[in-house]
């Protein structure tokens, strides 16, 4: 049909983009390492209550990361991560009540129990999507909330359950004194972040991102969408379960609220406000919102109100979360330095009419 529109892309431009991307990743990696180093060294040196506060943030950021991975890459909102988290914590407590004090056994058992629970959510991910999936996770989490009340003798009912065994269960590390336990937390968190980053940037990870963005097309290309969804659910279940294990060790006490909806919803909020498309997003979201809650808790009793406002801000202005917003700002600033042609080319490709329809889209819009 006559002259097409395929412009000759200069060879120079292509390697330029590759170089930029590699630079960005090196920069990101360096920043992450620096951040990790700071995280490990600074609070320990500073002492006081900082390691304990950060321990709290770290523990609660892991289930947020779990939710973020599912939401960002499987495009499903799983409200039930809290059930996994709480169930693992309860497993630790119940086992210690029956004399099991070996830290390795407790770790394996609680994480295993959590993965079993997330198996249930994996089933949901296979049979449902969208609102029905959300409802299934909502109901399940609500049901889990009632479990300790039902099995009062076993699980302590409304009074909660203590974790016996003092510091033996946590490899001899005391959560309340010294920095050992804090470093354990740093280690676990760094492990999950690094593993997740590695998986996501691998070929499998990029396939998952593609599946998340357009499941029909990925399925037509032969990828097992259900398989990947199950995989993501179980993997993030492991993350949430390890957080539950750590929580039990840190607080030596578990109670039914850990299993309930409000905590679960909080995890979803942490990851959304931080930004589900990035690994550090949920971590920042958890730390930020928990800090906000503590700060506001001292001055007012209005934390829910501010969380609501924060959520509205994200919804209207920063749909990709705070990190997404920062990144977009960064890209905007960088783009103004490039030539107009590049801009127009990208703009033309990005402008597609959005189909009017019922597809649930999430986070960053492409």
């Amino acid at each position: 049909m006559g002259a097409g529109v395929a412009a000759e892309r200069p060879a120079r431009g292509r390697s330029d983009r590759e170089r930029r991307s590699r630079n960005r990743r090196l920069l990101g990696g360096a920043a992450a390492l620096a951040g990790l180093a700071a995280l490990v060294v600074v609070p320990a040196a500073y002492g006081q209550f900082l390691p304990q506060r950060l321990s709290d943030y770290l523990i609660f950021s892991l289930p947020a990361l779990a939710v973020g991975l599912i939401a960002g890459h499987a495009r499903l909102i799983n409200v039930g991560v809290g059930a996994t988290f709480g169930f693992s914590a309860y497993t630790v407590a119940i086992l210690t009540q029956h004399g099991v004090l070996n830290p390795f056994v407790l770790m394996a058992a609680s994480i295993g129990a959590g993965i079993v629970v997330s198996g249930l959510f994996a089933v949901y991910a296979v049979v449902a999507t969208g609102l029905e999936y959300l409802l299934l996770t909502l109901l399940t989490t609500s049901a889990f909330f009632s479990l300790p009340l039902l099995f009062k003798g076993f699980a302590g009912g409304e009074n909660g359950l203590r974790v016996n065994g003092a510091v033996d269960v946590s490899f001899g590390l005391d959560p309340l004194t010294g920095n050992g336990f804090y470093w354990l937390l740093c280690g676990v968190t760094a492990f999950w972040c690094a593993l997740s980053w590695y998986l996501l940037t691998s070929r499998m990870g990029r396939v998952m991102v593609a599946i998340g963005r357009n499941p029909e097309r990925a399925s037509a290309m032969g990828y097992s969408v259900r398989g990947y969804r199950v995989g993501v659910t179980l993997y993030s279940g492991a993350i949430a379960a390890s957080a539950g294990w750590l929580y039990a060790l840190a607080h030596a006490f578990v109670f039914e609220d850990l299993l309930g909806l409000p905590d679960s919803v909080n995890f979803v909020l942490y990851s959304l406000i931080g930004g589900v498309d990035y690994i550090l997003g949920p971590l920042m979201g958890a730390a930020g919102l928990r800090y906000l809650g503590e700060y506001l808790g001292q001055h007012t009793a209005q934390s829910q109100f501010y969380v609501g406002i924060a959520l509205l801000v994200v919804v209207y202005l920063l749909p990709a979360g705070v990190i997404g917003g920062v990144r977009r700002l960064w890209e905007l600033m960088r783009r103004s330095r490039h030539e107009k042609a590049d801009q127009v080319l990208r703009a033309g490709r990005r402008d597609r009419r959005l189909p009017a329809g019922r597809r649930v889209r999430f986070g960053r819009r492409r």
């Binding site: 703009a347 402008d351 597609r352």
Partner: protein, 234 residues
């Protein structure tokens, strides 16, 4: 009755319609032809304020339509029959037709039903069936019947014959011809030569967002000649 002066239409930053000017008078049957993607549907949707951002002037019955929302344009006498997803799937055929006439009152609704069933007997057979269970062709007939039953002053029809069997194309063409003879203006986007020949006095050819020609329909002896007007150009 309808006048477009230098109409431009955009989806986001895509410049689809790039300066179209045309006129449709009462009782005119005008066809709009061209390749896929040149902007024919977008032109129709611009006239109805159904999506694209527009620049330029659209005048209907002497009044400028700038800033007038879709519903108001319909109430002034414009109508559109889109090419897909045009029916209310969970409502019956009869209810679908009635909705169009609700604006004008209950008696209007009965007349509308009579007209619709007369034009397309198959709809009468299935009047109680949910519209979503009709075949694609039957849904198009339902949509057209409903659009015409509203008795607009000008109706825009998008690809009515697409996917239809020849006998149904005849029915649709006949229905549109009757509308034209009754004084309704018809602007139809279609590729069926038979339909265009039955309904239209003239045809506007569109290429890449612009009108490149207007020809009387009688000047074409066959479909090839019509297609030649928008093929083989740069």
């Amino acid at each position: 009755m309808l006048e477009l002066v230098d109409l431009h239409a955009f989806y986001g930053r895509s410049h689809i319609v790039q300066g179209v000017s045309m006129r449709v008078a009462a009782g005119d049957g005008v066809g709009l032809v061209g390749h896929n993607g040149v902007g024919k549907t977008t032109t129709l949707r611009s006239i109805m304020a159904d999506g694209p951002r527009t620049e330029g002037t659209i005048t209907f019955k002497g009044a400028d339509l700038t800033g007038v929302p879709t519903g108001a344009r319909v109430r002034r006498g414009l109508g559109m029959v889109p090419d897909e997803e045009a029916v209310f799937p969970r409502m019956s055929v009869e209810e679908n037709i009635r909705i169009g006439a609700l604006l004008r009152g209950a008696k209007m609704a009965d007349q509308a039903l009579d007209l619709a069933y007369e034009l397309f007997p198959v709809l009468a057979e299935r009047r109680a069936q949910p519209a979503g269970t009709l075949s694609g062709g039957q849904q198009k007939m339902l949509a057209l019947a409903r659009g015409l039953a509203l008795r607009p002053d000008l109706v825009l029809v998008d690809e009515p014959s697409e996917g239809l069997m020849p006998i149904n194309v005849e029915l649709i063409s006949e229905a549109l011809r009757r509308a034209v003879k009754a004084g309704t203006g018809v602007l139809v986007v279609d590729s069926s030569f038979d339909l265009l020949r039955t309904v239209c006095d003239r045809v506007c050819v569109m290429q890449r967002g612009l009108l490149t020609g207007e020809y009387p329909m009688a000047g074409f002896a066959g479909p090839d000649q019509l297609v030649a007007t928008y093929l083989g150009e740069r």
